[in-house]
């Protein structure tokens, strides 16, 4: 956020101890981590937890819905990072400290059609929304290759419309037959009919910026809710 006036934090400052229960590889550099859920820890779909680690704080959106018995996050491993390699190597049952839930990226039911736009691990809050019963949305799922379309089958089943947008042109051949060859912005510019929508954007700042500016030009009566992965 760069507004200078962010909403007051809604996250508890309480720190919870959790245990790493499971690690599942989603593609070459991204894992889903399953953590124990502390007693009394409640959250809403779309919110984040914060790892309180000696190397600093790291926020990750929860993948599961609020009714789940455990906590799950989707993390891309940064090879020269200070935290994610440790998480990737941590032994099962290792302890981590978290706080939360944090954030306001919550689905707001409205009469305008909802368009979810995700890139990379930015798909996480949308998986949580789908798992908590949100339906009727259109999802633009951006990735470089088909391997990066995490949770695709589950999301296809929940969405009213699902479009895989693959930015690496050569990858399109091995992609789902209905995949769009190009970035999510290119799809929005060419294929989403003009109108008023509720856009939910989650991903890297460059994608958020490009989609937001496109919305200003092409869909100016729309609402935009953003969750930026820095």
């Amino acid at each position: 956020m760069n507004s200078g006036l962010a909403p007051p934090t809604n996250g508890s400052t309480e720190v919870y101890a959790v245990r790493l229960l499971k690690r599942r590889r989603l593609d070459g550099g991204t894992f889903e981590f399953t953590l124990s859920r502390p007693d009394g820890f409640s959250f809403r779909a779309g919110q984040r937890i914060r790892f309180e680690h000696p190397t600093g704080e790291r926020d990750y959106s929860l993948v599961n819905g609020p009714a789940a018995a455990e906590l799950q996050v989707c993390v891309r491993i940064v090879q020269d990072g200070q935290f994610t390699p440790r998480l990737a190597r941590a032994a099962i049952h290792s302890r981590f400290d978290i706080s939360g839930p944090h954030g306001y990226f919550i689905f707001q039911p409205a009469t305008r059609p909802a368009v979810f736009v995700a890139s990379g691990t930015g798909i996480a809050p949308f998986v949580a929304m789908a798992r908590s019963g949100v339906r009727g949305f259109r999802l633009l799922h951006g990735a470089r290759t088909a391997d990066g379309l995490y949770y695709q089958a589950e999301l296809r089943a929940a969405a009213a419309g699902y479009v895989a947008c693959l930015s690496k042109a050569a990858a399109a051949a091995a992609a789902p037959p209905d995949a769009f060859a190009g970035r999510v912005t290119a799809y929005l510019a060419a294929h989403l009919a003009p109108g008023a929508y509720d856009f939910y954007l989650c991903g890297r700042s460059e994608m958020i910026r490009d989609v937001t500016l496109l919305v200003d030009r092409r869909f100016p009566a729309s609402l935009v809710y953003s969750e930026i992965f820095f």
Binding site: M1, N2, G4, L5, P7, Q108, I208, T212, D216, F230
Partner: protein, 189 residues
């Protein structure tokens, strides 16, 4: 961590309730003034004399209140996003009134207009008071433009709080001069 995205480079920004608006929008003006007030309070806190060290936590509390005020102003009336924001209550305005009464009890009676200034912290308090009044005027404008009384209600607690806060800042300025032994300068016609 980068704090910029560039999403506002063409003059628009997002409200907390999702709308994309020009940065010259009345709502942005209003929470911009609240943001400015919060910054001035930070300067005031940094300038507090040791004789008024007990005011520091109060200023921190006011700054936290103003974050809530800003979030509320960044959200359109009727938006479901309002459910995410904790509004201030009449108790917060009442707490300001109690603080005013407590500070005022130590002060000599005021018999004429005073010129803003004195101790640097007092000067910042006067500056904060005037920015607070500007923010209040912006909110009055938003409430007036809302038209429908039910939508005007969206701003009711803000108007009470900002009105009381500017009163508190005026008394605080006098208090800071008083405890540092600097007499208020009276306006000589």
């Amino acid at each position: 961590m980068k704090i910029y995205t560039g999403g506002g480079d063409q003059g628009r920004t997002s409200l907390f309730s999702g709308e994309r608006v020009f940065k010259a929008h009345a709502r942005i003006d209003a929470y911009g003034d609240v943001d400015e007030l919060n910054s001035v309070l930070g300067a005031l806190a940094a300038a507090l004399p040791v004789q008024a060290a007990e005011i520091g936590p109060k200023i921190t509390g006011l700054q936290a209140d103003l974050m809530k005020v800003g979030a509320w102003l960044a959200t359109s009336p009727g938006s479901p996003a309002l459910a995410e924001i904790e509004a201030l209550t009449t108790a917060d305005a009442a707490a300001l009134e109690a603080a005013i009464d407590q500070l005022d009890a130590d002060l000599p009676p005021l018999r004429s207009f005073i010129l803003p200034g004195g101790h640097p912290a007092a000067a910042w308090a006067h500056m904060a008071r005037t920015v607070c009044r500007r923010a209040e005027r912006r909110v009055v404008g938003l409430a007036d433009a809302a038209g429908d009384p039910s939508r005007q209600d969206h701003y009711a607690w803000l108007l009470v709080y900002l009105n009381r806060l500017s009163d508190y800042l005026f008394v605080l300025a006098r208090y800071l001069n008083h405890v540092t032994g600097i007499p208020d300068r009276m306006w000589q016609k």
